[in-house]
Symmetry: C2
């Protein structure tokens, strides 16, 4: 390619490196060769990092405490420019201390792994450096968002893929959009007149749901006390009978139920709320039915697992984060909305400097005014390009594989000495929640003492994992349950051997506790 | 570098191209060579695109109407995977129809240009593929956000750079955060109890301010009618006397004034509200003083222009978007907050799966719970790396240069035949607002007819610009003013010759109208 040719020519001409001043980079007149050399150097650093990240011999993290890390490098911002050599050194230092989120033994979050086509797409997105507000400034990306949202709605089961939607900066914001739409649908005057024109509202979600529902209610002026927690069963699923009881209770107290958020794949247990039963209740009481499938929504791509989302087609809105179980690079979160036009009516402000009505093209492609954001990052291209590269069946295979791994883990530890499962039965998602009881705790008779000591086990093992840098997995308490490990698998790079390794590592690091 | 060596070796071994199946890419066992080759091919496409984008012989856009663009390529998503060759073809097609936002003659938005160090940093960010919620998963990026926010607060003029802040997905969300904080500061019970526990609130902003203030008020349950528009003078600056009068009026009507948003650099005129006078009024009536410097905040980096922001140091919160006037790749928007701890108190929900309190490091670096988002994209690294590469003086030079260009444009057209300025006097930012009157309209006596025909001039010239692809500039009506051009300059690649070109092009394309 011509760019590569320039780059090589430049490299030959500049054997002393590229430590020249910034003004020699593009847009300078003769900046192209130096620019290509500089960018190629950065790419080489990145390619080396990628290969390293997938290598099990590499540490997941080279951990240092914040104050220590602050001192290990000069991170300060100065008046004077640095050389490009210094910039390359900063890039290397940044990656040296970064978490290798692509590492096959990094299990710490719901978003792990690094897809190569997704990465390439994100590099292209950065290079295109535009904004989603109008067709005028993002013609291709606006079309790809249109095509992809339609496809996702088809998969949800909405007729002909009809409906609306948007890619938003994360699941919390997608859920907030849903709540905003539900309120506006019931009380459109709230947009102009605010909550003082509206009766006291009540939203419902299970006690295992994501904290963003409460966060959204606080932000929207609804208040966290108006988010009523519905009981979950032992495996973390919402109990529909409790939902109906709480709706009736709220109505009796003068609240107006306006929003139910069912979770498809809870954060900790990976539980799927019974969507059909919940949708029946929503229909009966005419309440907006939202499905928070940020984590579990992707299972609808799998013919083997999609039954867990049965009823999602009845939802008024669905949150679905391809950056989690589909391993699309961060961030990529979709909100899908059944009713067309509602988002536009809810959020539009008709800014005349952006959404001119006398433009020469079809204005329905100027999607910016349905967003809460003004500028909106292009999150669509990485999902779209990955979808092209894998096909729907590729995503399915990837999801099925992760679920197979988690079933393997579950089968491996459910009867193993020293392990206790946090809830019974095969997990529905890749979440496997368990306690590891070191030998010194395993046989304690005093139940309170045992609990107290067990509570401290996971944090210590986790701290040791990070210091050794061998693996990372999350832990937490929940309700009256002391700290347990929450294993999740979303990284297509993980294998059965990595699961074995995790268990060995927990035992190695925890044996003396 | 080793990555390059692999890449070259791979290229030699695979003369037939890289059209193999996806499963051969990393994380496959032997995926590294093919992966490096594939990524290098994409990089070559991107490098060629970059060089092309800065070339004035290239079109800014290869424009097609939405339906036409949909048909020019197969954009559909399928069940089956495509080959990597097809993926490369899709990358090329996407860039072919994209807007070249780096092009020196692209003046369409407040965010233009493409900084090479910023781009490299964004590529690194994508490769690191992590999330800002905790130090645990983003140690370096969390520290860099800390360092950079402190530096920005120092520049604002807050003692020792003390205070708080966050990078958010765009200026609209930053402004919404400010409003949320102002409400919580005055009525902390709103978080739990919602707006029903709070008297009717009133927010104030100038009629020239950004629409996100109203959008935020609608979302937060305050309502757009509670956003009271303050008159602006002829040049677009808020009139402080009108602010005081409207505050008193609102109080008499039983509203509680809680938030004033002054604008430093309005979207259309680039006007700077008189911050000192406004802050005095805010102090007198004990109202939160927010400065929306999304567009104009960066002028504080310039010793020549910072006086326009005098008084910003008195603000309770400041929105400042480095992705606009500092040409950092999209998105990069900061909200700076004077009071420490307030964001945390306002937004925290203590999710125990993420913000475990028994972690082994200093928890003040787990900044995620102050955000409305749960996952948060890493927007900091590109700003930080550019700052290192340019130094503060480099940003200053870049900003000064853009302002010099806009002064050149203003001087060129203010007395030129066929031009009328939308407001008198030298613009304070790079916004130059003007009408071009083609000869056929220039001498019309009938004022109404003249206005009516003038209104149609800018849209037609703009459409022709896009069809020829030679340049792009925004237009709009405002109040009773018919469509005018709003020129803005934020691209460091632009030169005096590009300004000359724009004027010639407007005249060439508009002469017959």
């Amino acid at each position: 390619s011509p760019a590569r040719a320039w780059c090589q020519a430049a490299a030959q001409k500049l054997p002393g490196g590229i430590g020249s001043k910034l003004c020699d980079l593009l847009p300078a007149l003769d900046g192209d060769m130096k620019t290509m050399t500089f960018l190629q150097e950065v790419v080489d650093i990145l390619l080396a990092y990628i290969t390293e990240s997938f290598d099990r011999e590499t540490k997941v993290i080279d951990f240092h405490y914040p104050n220590e890390l602050l001192q290990r490098n000069n991170w300060e911002l100065q008046d004077e420019p640095e050389t490009l050599d210094d910039i390359l050194i900063s890039c290397r230092a940044t990656l040296k201390y970064a978490i290798k989120t692509a590492h096959p033994r990094y299990f710490n979050q719901l978003s792990t792994g690094l897809d190569m086509v997704g990465l390439a797409a994100d590099w292209l997105t950065s290079t295109a450096n535009t904004n989603m507000f109008t067709y005028e400034v993002a013609p291709v990306f606006v079309l790809l968002e249109y095509v992809t949202l339609k496809k996702m709605r088809e998969i949800i089961g909405w007729e002909d893929g009809r409906g609306d939607g948007i890619f938003s900066p994360g699941g919390a914001i997608s859920n907030m959009y849903a709540m905003l739409l539900a309120r506006f649908k019931m009380f459109p005057e709230v947009k102009e007149k605010g909550m003082s024109s509206v009766p006291r509202l009540a939203a419902f979600t299970s006690e295992h749901s994501h904290f963003s529902i409460k966060k959204g209610a606080a932000a929207l002026g609804i208040g966290t006390e108006s988010v009523i927690c519905i009981k979950a069963d032992e495996s973390g699923k919402m109990i529909p009978a409790d939902l109906e009881r709480k709706i009736l209770e709220a109505k009796q107290k003068g609240f107006v139920p306006f929003f139910v958020s069912a979770t498809a794949g809870t954060t900790v247990y990976g539980a799927f709320d019974p969507l059909i039963a919940i949708s029946d209740i929503c229909k009966k009481y005419q309440v907006w039915f939202h499905v928070d499938g940020a984590w579990g929504g992707s299972l609808i791509m799998s013919r083997m697992h999609k039954w867990k989302l049965d009823g999602v087609e009845r939802a008024n809105s669905v949150t679905w984060n391809p950056h989690k179980m589909m391993a699309v690079p961060l961030q990529c979160s979709a909100l899908l909305v059944r009713e067309e036009g509602l988002m536009q009516n809810c959020n539009q402000m008709h800014a005349c400097y952006l959404f001119q009505q006398d433009k020469h093209y079809d204005l329905s492609y100027d999607t910016g005014d349905k967003a809460l954001q003004c500028g909106r990052h292009v999150d669509i291209f990485k999902l779209w390009l990955m979808w092209r590269a894998k096909g729907t069946i590729g995503f399915e295979a990837q999801i099925d594989k992760c679920l197979e791994l988690s079933e393997y883990l579950y089968n491996k530890i459910k009867d193993r000495e020293g392990y206790e499962m946090v809830f019974n039965g095969k997990p529905q998602h890749t979440n496997v929640c368990f306690w590891y009881l070191p030998p010194g705790i395993r046989y304690l008779e005093d139940k309170e003492e045992k609990k107290k000591r067990l509570h401290k086990v996971a944090p210590v093992i986790k701290a040791r994992m990070m210091e050794y840098g061998t693996t990372m997995v999350s832990y937490q308490p929940q309700g009256d349950k002391v700290n347990f490990f929450r294993m999740v698998i979303s990284n297509p790079a993980a294998t059965f051997e990595d699961i074995d390794f995790l268990i060995e590592e927990i035992e190695r690091l925890g044996q003396d506790l």
